[in-house]
Amino acid sequence: METPRSVYVHVPFCRHRCGYCNFTLVAGRDYLIADYLKAIEIELDKIKTPIEVDTIYLGGGTPSRLPPQDLQHLLSLLGNRFRLVADGEFTMEANPDDLPGEIESVIRDSDINRVSLGIQSFSQPKLRSLDRDHDLPQIELAIDSVKKIVDRFSIDLIFAAPHDSLSIWEKDLSYGIGTGATHISTYELTFEKGTIFWNRKQRNQIHAPTDDHCVAYYEMAIERLRDHEYAHYEVSSFAKSGQRSRHNQVYWSGSPYLAFGPGASGFMDGVRYTNHRAVKRYLTKVLNGHSAIEESRVLSRREMAIDQIVFGLRLIEGIDLRQFEQQTGYQLNNLVPTECLDDWTEANLVTLESDRLRLTSRGILFADTICSHISMLEPPGPEASSPSDPNHN
């Protein structure tokens, strides 16, 4: 089995939980940081000899919320187990609130060479509606600070928020482009079960924008960013030349990666696993010598191949079929019936040219329909039902 060359570490601390967020985190409970670091250390002790890795990603939560000395501690724990290759990518997520400050020097003195800033918007009312604490001056300070400490930085922007509008979004995009970010991720606000926004929506206190609006936001982002030389390389990711997130591409390509921290998901030796999502439970389990893993699933070779198609299709350049066959031992036709592909081609959803399968620009809008269809395909067998119409969703 391939040795993982990527590491994800989840840092679950936040000042408060934003209304739309359903990630694994604890808000306002920084007193758990000490236990958290102990737990991470226990998890990391699985690594007996240092591993050489290409990418490391500190996500959250809010990694920048860790006090500088704790961040320093976490980084040294990682540094003892993982050797980042010379041209490796080490990303840390940060909140504009937390910069500038003492943390700058910790980052500067570490291997961290890429920062992902959770800006979400530059519009004051929109930020407020999203429960974000920062404001425009704070964002500018943070960007200046980031630019001083790393060469590469990414910003996250959200569209289709409550009270959002195309003109607000247009300004968000221009501001974002103006920051000089090397990478921009645009997310449609989704209403996830268990969030305040979900509840408000259930009570009709906020309304999700129509699909037509969402498409308009999305298409505007694609167009504006492309005009400013941000290549659309994945459904929600845009990058200047050579600035794609290498770490995320590991997820999408089906390569193995390690994961640590509450709620973190990893993929190794053909097993997808996820750590305990509830932070307290994660800490209790790990500190008492139990496994951090809440659930895991062994994937068959076929499932791994299917996953590669499904997540590979989210990449705008699509899948190199020859490479796919080499890696998985499967031919596309063995997994996805030709009729399906023909129908999708005819419906202008996918194209298959020079050994490359990819979504068309229309197909990107229906990525979930196509991907869920492919992931639902039953393996062919004597009792397998015939593949159904691709238009089903």
């Binding site: 994800y8 645009t186 037509d212 997808r272 997540f311 419906a347 639902m376 238009n391 089903h392």
Partner: protein
């Protein structure tokens, strides 16, 4: 209490017909029929008090749940009243109009009927229908007012209502509380003194009428019968005169209420026969049992059960088809009035067309299926049975909308008409009349039941009644209104078939038959509901209601604009896969027509009676 000495029926001791009383209790639902039956069993000592189980006669679980009696049962009690020993046979009759035929056969076994009325509720629609049925069978009626211990009882008024509506002298009413055991002894005395003894000639050839049967897995059909003349004993060769089957009697006896075997049954008695009959079809209700060699005349009044309401039943999961067939078979063995035959629908796959005596019967069968067989069902809209006279003069019976021929081929389209009695407080009469008129009812009469309650009689299309009339009446009268109906006959009407077309495919299971002037409203309501239930696809979906080639309503399910969620980081992979797995489960429960996925809920929601009207308001 002391006057009545009670004991169990004595084995082997046969009473003369003059000491036998056969009777039934007829009542509106919830007026206390089962409780009264229990009390009679207890007061005659047939069942000891501590063994009493509430509603002993209703032994089916479902009946207990619904508090209603579905199938007739008979219990034999022995009572000593003023020094005389009597055999009392209580024949439990179904109270609902769906079981009209069974009621008539049960009544034919009795000489008397207790007409039980709630001291607060008073005379209700069903009371009237049942009383008329008893009078038609020349039964002696003892009016009984129940629940006289209620604080708000109005027994005097109720007695007046009985006199007013049913012509039963107010002062002849016996007042009881079945629950508290008040007046039960007086009632037992009245039963023996007022009801006539059966006139039976025990020396003539055996003549017994089957009034019910049930199926025992081990012993076959258990046939309930009333011996009109002659006698029968174990080992006798008997013949069912209508079905022409011959059998040997293996066991006979009474229900006390437990099945208790005896040596012989004699003219005037009521009891059961077990003859190793493997299907209830061979022991048809209303059939006459006689001897093989010297048969008596068949008893008049035999009929085939008339199915008035039909619907399609489909397994949610096509895999369950054979399970469903087995379950239906099992039910049909126990209930010959229910029939089914395989049918297929483009939309729903393979299922069965099922015929029922009426709506209640349909609900009972459905619940029993879901309860006993654990099969998820899709039920199509119930429809009544129609008669169509074709241009060539032939008459066909139509049980489902799909069978309606092209309008050019129809000379006459006839639908069943029922006479509906509606009793409600005066203040609601206006709104009830309005409901009936809207449904093309023709008023037959108006009658005061009491100073404040009025009985309206309408002739209405049965289709309108099963569609939603009962619910509407209940809400229009705040629950005070009651209704009952009986079949009148088929009448010509201006009926049309409305088809639902989804992206140029007719959804056969959604076709409806309705009056021409309602077609547009009904069609629009169904189209609207379908639009709500069908989720967006990648293409636009047209939903149309049509009569022939004419489109009467149209809705559009717009094409989906996008289906992509932006986020996809490491942990999202497992999360997304979970979501997709869930979608896969959901999709299994969809029915595809053409390339459109129609959720099963759409069939339920659209077809459920009344929903369309609500949503169109």
């Amino acid at each position: 209490m002391n006057e009545i000495r009670t004991r169990k029926v004595t084995q082997g001791k046969i009473l003369p017909a003059s000491q036998i009383r056969n009777f039934c209790i007829i009542a509106h639902i919830d007026h206390g029929k089962s409780t009264l039956a229990d009390r009679l069993l207890e007061h005659t000592g047939t069942v000891a008090k501590r063994q009493m189980q509430e509603q002993l006669l209703d032994d089916m679980e479902l009946e207990r749940q619904r508090g209603i009696t579905i199938k007739a049962r008979a219990v034999t009690m022995q009572a000593q009243i003023e020094g005389q020993t009597y055999e009392l046979n209580l024949i439990d009759t179904p109270g609902h109009v769906d079981f009209h035929y069974e009621v008539s056969r049960s009544l034919a076994c009795c000489e008397g009927a207790l007409l039980l009325v709630d001291a607060f509720q008073g005379v209700e629609a069903q009371t009237v229908a049942n009383a008329y049925a008893a009078l038609e069978h020349d039964l002696h009626i003892i009016p009984v007012i129940n629940k006289i211990d209620l604080v708000n009882q109005r027994a005097d008024e109720v007695a007046q209502e009985m006199e007013q509506v049913l012509g039963l002298a107010a002062d002849s009413c016996i007042r009881v509380s079945a629950k508290a055991g008040i007046g039960i002894d007086d009632l037992l005395k009245a039963i023996t003194t007022q009801f006539p003894a059966p006139a039976a000639d025990r020396t003539s050839p055996l003549q017994a009428m089957v009034f019910d049967s049930h199926y025992d897995e081990y012993r076959g059909a258990i046939t309930y019968c009333r011996l009109l003349n002659g006698s029968v004993k174990k080992g006798d060769k008997i013949k069912f005169l209508r079905s022409n089957h011959t059998h040997e009697v293996q066991e006979l006896g009474h229900f006390e209420p437990k099945q208790t075997a005896c040596e012989t049954l004699q003219g005037g008695q009521v009891g059961y026969l077990i003859c190793n009959i493997k299907s209830l079809d061979a022991a048809h209700i209303g059939d006459t049992i006689s001897t093989v060699n010297n048969p008596a005349e068949p008893v008049a009044g035999y009929d085939q059960p008339k199915r008035m309401v039909y619907c399609g039943l489909y397994p949610s999961d096509g895999q369950d088809f054979s399970e469903l067939r087995d379950a239906l078979n099992k039910l049909a063995i126990n209930d010959p009035s229910f029939e089914f035959e395989p049918e297929s629908s483009d939309a729903l796959g393979f299922g069965f067309r099922c015929g029922f005596l009426g709506l209640l019967h349909m609900e009972i069968i459905q619940q029993r299926l879901e309860g006993e067989a654990d099969i998820d069902l899709i039920q199509t809209a119930p429809n009544v049975s129609y008669e169509i006279k074709r241009r060539d003069g032939s008459v066909i019976e139509v049980h489902k909308p799909q069978e309606v021929p092209d309008s050019g081929d129809i000379e006459e389209f006839r639908q069943p008409i029922v006479r509906v009695n509606l009793i409600q407080p005066e203040s609601y009469v206006g709104s009830v009349m309005k409901l009936c008129q809207e449904r093309r009812g023709i008023q037959q009469s108006t009658e005061y039941v009491s100073a404040t309650r009025i009985m309206l009689t309408y002739d209405l299309p049965l289709a309108e009644v099963i569609y939603d009339l009962h619910d509407k009446i209940k809400s229009a009268t705040r629950g005070y209104g009651t209704m009952d109906y009986e079949f009148q006959g088929f009448e010509q009407a201006d009926l049309v078939r409305v088809d639902m077309i989804v992206n140029n495919n007719r959804i056969d299971a959604l076709s409806i038959i309705c009056h021409r002037s309602d077609a547009e409203r009904r069609g629009r309501a169904v189209a609207k509901k379908l639009k709500e239930e069908i989720s967006r696809h990648m293409f636009e979906i047209a939903v149309q209601a049509t009569i022939g080639n004419r489109v009467v309503a149209r809705e559009t399910v717009k094409a989906m604009r996008k289906n992509v969620t932006a986020k996809c980081y490491g942990g999202d992979i497992s999360r997304k896969k979970k979501l997709w797995a869930k979608q896969r489960e959901g999709k299994k429960r969809m029915k595809s027509v053409g390339s459109v996925d129609i959720p099963q809920k759409a069939f339920m929601a659209v077809l459920h009676k009344g929903d369309e009207k609500k949503s169109s308001n």
